[in-house]
């Protein structure tokens, strides 16, 4: 584990007025791994992600991407680095078809701003195929006619088709049925296998243990620890989420906690 993590956050602090949302939070994710970010409501998961996505900017602390310090001031900055976020509410347009959604805001066009539909359609089909999303009949059907799992698959495919390096999934399986959840979790694992760094935010520990390589636990805006899935149990993680002692030793997450990675 000597390689530099793809994304490293150090001492991120963020407050909204008098509310301290994040204090000195560290976080990292490596290429090819699924890092779960868990914690109770108000633990700071979403705030942390928004700092990376460019929706918020941290009050202090540093963000290192591929080992170099970066400043993310907006969603465009994040996208330029290769960071894509798939939000809980999907951010798809129901009235547009799969192709149109996949290319939303980044349409292929010529000098006359004319859309190059055939190329977009072909590439969409390729992307879906490479991610083994096979349940969608036609890439020309409106997203409104897709099931929840299919929609989530489209949202994920949309995020990864732009040569992204890091994909952050916010509650990807919320409101999905059992079979559809499996479909999406398999897709999440496939992303990591294909060499992306994946961050999955979830309340559902079953999902986390199905997919994650490592698990970062936040509580009350502070680090509790980082656990390796293979060496921990759901009980330990639940305990960390609900009663974990916020720790913070010399900038390395989780060193003070037993069972955590060094």
């Amino acid at each position: 584990m000597n390689e530099t993590p793809l994304l490293q956050l150090r001492n991120i602090t963020k407050s909204f007025g008098s509310v301290q949302a994040l204090s000195d939070v560290d976080f990292e994710v490596r290429t090819g791994e699924v890092m779960a970010l868990v914690g109770d409501n108000g633990a700071g998961k979403s705030t942390l992600v928004k700092c990376v996505a460019g929706t918020h900017s941290a009050d202090s602390g540093e963000i290192l991407f591929e080992g170099e310090e970066v400043h993310i001031h907006g969603p465009k900055d994040a996208a330029n680095l290769g960071i894509e976020v798939v939000y809980q509410d999907l951010a798809l347009c129901d009235n547009l078809d799969v192709v149109q959604n996949m290319y939303l805001g980044r349409e292929t066009h010529d000098w006359l701003q004319r859309l190059k539909e055939p190329i977009m359609e072909q590439k969409t089909a390729e992307t879906l195929k490479s991610l083994a999303v096979t349940t969608i009949n036609s890439v020309r059907q409106p997203v409104a006619t897709l099931s929840g799992g299919q929609r989530q698959s489209v949202a994920v495919a949309k995020a990864v088709q732009w040569n992204s390096k890091l994909v952050i999934l916010d509650e990807p399986t919320a409101a999905l049925g059992v079979a559809q959840t499996e479909q999406v979790l398999a897709l999440v694992r496939r992303l990591a296998e294909q060499g992306l760094a994946v961050v999955i935010i979830s309340h559902n520990l079953h999902d986390v243990f199905e997919t994650a390589t490592r698990i970062t636990v936040l509580r009350l805006g502070r680090n509790v620890g980082v656990y390796e899935r293979a060496r921990t149990t759901q009980e330990e993680v639940v305990h960390a989420i609900t009663a974990g002692v916020p720790t913070k030793v010399s900038g390395i997450p989780g060193t003070a906690h037993t069972g955590a990675t060094a």
């Binding site: 951010a91 347009c93 009235n95 939303l104 805001g105 004319r114 539909e117 055939p118 409104a144 099931s147």
Partner: protein
């Protein structure tokens, strides 16, 4: 022309399955369409055919060249306003100011062509100036909607009052301004010769055929599935039939004789705006903002910019419509922009199938809707019915069309889950 059009699609007709089960495929596709909430243009085209046949029997002087030319010129102004409304409705917004913005457009044109006023300019330039002035009005109204967040209903209702006030204030003294400029009046009163009419029908058919051909070739090059070839052929034949049929009827008109320029202008804007809506990034973004503004924003689309541009289109098209409406009566008076103009324009778009909730609808809907309204109104008029009856029938048609569309939409939601 239609023969060459058929040649264009012949290569695809060899595709397996499709031609063999022609009629069965038609039925199946129609069923799928209805199930997925996409009624397409078929109901309204059938409705239009029914209306035409009905009035042809009802009134002896309905199915005549002269009356067809009348209908075309009568619908032209409303259709232009309705084209602009489509874009606003696609965003899920509304523009109530268009009728009086049309009045402002007509007023600007009338003022600028006024001989001896000291600011008389060429009629063509005057029309351009009117469109620019109205586009700026749209930009102002759109900016308030986009940046301040005032609901478009309120902003444009204010616009409705303000621009009506401006017209009343400006025309209080003269009462009306007569339009004498021949370029301006041509928009409603120029008729093409027989030959020119046929040529225009040929050009329309050829352009459509080439567009279809381009689409098919592009898809083939990218190895993407091509839609049903027989449907493409049927549409092409339909377009050619409509174009040549209209010219044939218009050419039988006595005085004035031939295809009206107003009709050609309507088709021109129909084509240009359809291209804008369906084939450009701008159009795609309009649909996206109407479907889910937050998703559009996250996708990096400049939502305020789209909103402002749409309100500019709406006002600019209102100006175009206003010019034609003024040219039709050769003047602008105190009452210009009042009456049923606003509601007819919105009704035209809605009858054609444009959703009031945004994201769903096409420019051609406004064309067909305006045609329905103009034809019904003309037919009832020709058959000797009073204005009250015309309003009532138009209202019933509007209600019927929207009910049909709503039912189709509910079916779509159900088939999707």
């Amino acid at each position: 022309m239609s023969a060459s059009g058929l040649d264009v699609v012949t290569p695809d007709q060899g595709a397996p399955d499709e031609e063999l089960h022609g009629l069965a495929a038609v039925y199946r596709r129609a069923l799928i369409n209805v199930k997925s909430g996409n009624l397409g243009v078929l109901p309204i085209v059938l409705g239009l055919v029914f209306i035409v046949v009905f009035f042809s029997f009802k009134a002896t002087n309905f199915f005549t060249g002269n009356n067809f030319d009348n209908i075309i010129v009568q619908m032209a102004g409303d259709a232009m306003l309705a084209f602009g409304v489509v874009f606003v409705l696609l965003l899920g917004e509304i523009d109530l100011s268009i009728s009086y913005v049309a009045g402002i457009g007509a007023l600007v044109v009338a003022e600028l062509q006024l001989p001896g006023s000291g600011h008389q300019i060429n009629g063509l330039l005057a029309m351009v100036a009117a469109v620019v002035v109205c586009a700026l009005i749209g930009a102002a109204q759109g900016s308030i909607v986009a940046f301040v967040g005032v609901p478009s209903f309120v902003v444009t209702l204010a616009g409705f009052m303000i621009w009506q006030g401006v017209i009343l204030q400006k025309l209080e003294q003269p009462g009306s301004i007569i339009i004498q400029d021949r370029w301006i009046n041509y928009t409603a009163s120029y008729y093409f010769s027989n030959i020119a009419g046929w040529l225009i029908a040929g050009i329309i058919t050829a352009v459509y055929a080439l567009t279809v051909l381009g689409g098919v070739l592009g898809k083939r090059r990218a190895g993407v599935a091509i839609g049903r070839p027989w449907l493409v052929a049927a549409k092409l034949v339909g377009i050619a039939g409509a174009a040549f049929g209209t010219v044939a009827i218009s050419n039988h008109a006595q005085v004035p004789h031939g295809l009206p320029l107003a009709g050609v202008l309507v088709v021109f804007f129909l084509v240009v705006l359809t291209f804008l809506a369906k084939r450009t990034t701008f159009g795609r973004h309009v649909y996206a903002v109407g479907g889910n503004a937050e998703a559009a924003r996250r996708a990096g689309i400049n939502v305020p910019r789209i909103r402002i541009l749409v309100f500019m289109i709406s006002s600019a098209m209102a100006a175009v419509g206003g010019i034609i409406l003024a040219a039709n009566v050769n003047s602008v008076d105190l009452n210009f922009g009042g009456g049923t103009l606003l509601l007819n324009a919105i009704a035209a778009a809605v009858i054609g199938g444009v959703s009031l909730f945004g994201g769903r609808g096409e420019v051609r809907a406004a064309f067909l809707g305006a045609l329905v309204i103009a034809t019904v109104s003309n037919g009832l008029n020709t058959a000797g019915y009073a204005t009250g009856i015309i309003y009532m029938v138009t209202g019933v048609i509007l209600l019927f069309a929207v009910t049909l569309d709503t039912i189709a939409r509910r079916l779509q939601v159900r088939s999707g889950r």
